[in-house]
Structure formats: structure tokens, C-alpha cells
Point group: C2
Chain length 141, copies 2
DNA sequence: ATTGCACCCTGTAGTAACTATAGGGTCAAC
DNA sequence: GTTGACCCTATAGTTACTACAGGGTGCAAT
């Protein structure tokens, strides 16, 4: 490939994004379909690489694809207030915090159950017991 | 419905699992297909409710469906050592810990970026800047 | 020129765990 | 009989990828 032209593999290596994922992003409109070589290979430019880098970074920070799309749209509007960007980021941070809270609660309970496991037979397994329905008529059947 | 027979809606309400999800569990073999009423309604019994409760609790603790399937299989083997159960639970706890670590790192970085946002225009937005590609030729274009 | 291998292409389906919808039947209270 | 809640099957969608299958291209080594 000649100077300035990048293949999909080049972009993949440069950003740590799989080739298939890059094609996926093109399909859903996150990336523009580039010109093609005579061999029908995608011919990307530096701007495409830049845009994919943005997407990769945002994804790594946990932003959903629609949020990434919005951020990309906003990033082109230089004179506009960045209030909307701030909002997207804060909403996302709040969501991350919710997930953290849930996961911590889950971990606490799971850890507690595991610690109680004396590990004899299934009949006396505290883990199974914790999951099994409470039987009002006696031991778990 | 007569005594002892439970509808899918009964199970749904008793376990907080959606009707559609219960049908899904039947389809993938986690729940046995019950007898039907003359009106073709599913006719569940107490054992079915118990099994669904187990599934629900395990799911709430974050176990994947295949892990739930294994746990269910093990729970029937009373005389067997609960070592396998212990293993599944510990593997899962390790996975939860990995997720927690990743999520915490993500949160730290996201929080840091947000705090730097002075919120003027997009051109000077620290969030967008953090996502944008590094331009060796000068300011982000 | 030929070969071999890494890479590229499109199209399609699968992953995990649900969830929603369309269109139609059942049941029980009124 | 009517009505509204519930039930049924079939199919497709959600999110963000990921994995083929089958075939074409490019380039270095021979």
C-alpha cells in the first residue's frame, strides 16, 4: 500500500480494534465507508484512524455506542458549549457507580456464602443450601 | 386453576422472573416442560417453583446460565462431595473480583477526566480532548 | 512466472441473557 | 354473552461484538 493509505489491518493494529469490529462500526455508521483500492481493499486515511482512536478510547471508558456517536457529533462543533458532553460523561459515571454498588453487594453475599462452605457432601453444602428453596416441611429434599 | 397447580404467571410472581424468561428457561432446558391443562396452559407443581427459585437466586448472584445448569445437576447428587460446587462458586467469585477491579480502574479514569472539565466550549473541552487522537502537528483539529 | 501465506472481501449466523411483538386462544367474573 | 387478564407460539430484536464460510488480492521468495 502506498504512502498515506492505511488498510483495515493497519487501523486494527494501531488501535487494538479487531478488523471485524471495524467493519461492524462502518456498518452501523460510526465510521465512514472509505474509498477502495483497485483490489477492493478499504483505503483509510489519517482522519479515519483518528476517529477510530476516539471510538476505541470512549469504548474503553465504558461509553455505549450511542453515547460514542453523540460525543463524536459534539466533538465537531467547536464553538458549542461542552455542557452536553459533560452531561453524557456524568450520566455515564453515575451508571458506573450503580454497577459498582450492585457488584459490591453481590460480591459480599457470594463471599459470605462461600466462607460458610465446609465442603463435605452436597447434602450439607452451604452454597447449595443458600440457593435452594426454603422448605417449610423440613430439610431440603 | 385448581389446588397444587401453578400457572406460569404464579411462578413469575413468586420468583420475580418474567413469564417470557420462564419460557426461555424451558426452551434452553433449564426448566422441564410441565404438563398442560385442557386449555394448553402450563401446569406447574411445587418442585418446578423450587427449581425456578434456585435459578433466580443463582442468577441474582451473577452465575451464568451454564453455571446454574451445573449447580442444579450437582444439587441432586446428595452423597457427592461438594468440591465441584465450591469450585464453581470460587471461580465465579474470582471473575466478580476481576470485574470489580476493571470497573474501579475505569471509574477512576473517567472521574479524573470529568473533574478536569472546565466546561466552556467544545474546542477546549477536556473530555473531548482526552478522547481525541494526539495530534503531533499542533492543537486537535 | 509460480507459489505460498498473510491479508482482504462479503454474507451470514452466533454469543449471552434476555425482551418485545404479533396474532390468536383461555378463563373467570360479571 | 362480554370483558379483561392471562395464556399460547413464533419470530425478531437488544447490545456489542465475534466467528465462520468461501473466495479474492498482494507481495516476497523461489
Amino acid at each position: 500500500m502506498s504512502s498515506g493509505i492505511l488498510t483495515i489491518g493497519d487501523l486494527s493494529k494501531a488501535t487494538g480494534t479487531k478488523v471485524e469490529t471495524i467493519r461492524y462500526y462502518e456498518r452501523i455508521g460510526l465510521l465512514a465507508a472509505p474509498d477502495r483500492t483497485s483490489g477492493n481493499y478499504r483505503a483509510y486515511g489519517a482522519k479515519d484512524l483518528g476517529r477510530l482512536s476516539f471510538i476505541r478510547r470512549a469504548r474503553d471508558l465504558g461509553f455505549g455506542l450511542e453515547q460514542v456517536r453523540e460525543l463524536l457529533g459534539l466533538s465537531d462543533q467547536k464553538q458549542r458549549s461542552c455542557e452536553a458532553v459533560d452531561m453524557i460523561a456524568r450520566d455515564h459515571l453515575a451508571e458506573v457507580d450503580r454497577k459498582l454498588t450492585d457488584l459490591k453487594a453481590l460480591r459480599r453475599e457470594l463471599d459470605s456464602i462461600i466462607r460458610q462452605c465446609g465442603c463435605g457432601t452436597i447434602a450439607e453444602c452451604r452454597i447449595i443450601e443458600a440457593l435452594a428453596p426454603i422448605d417449610p416441611n423440613g430439610p431440603v429434599k
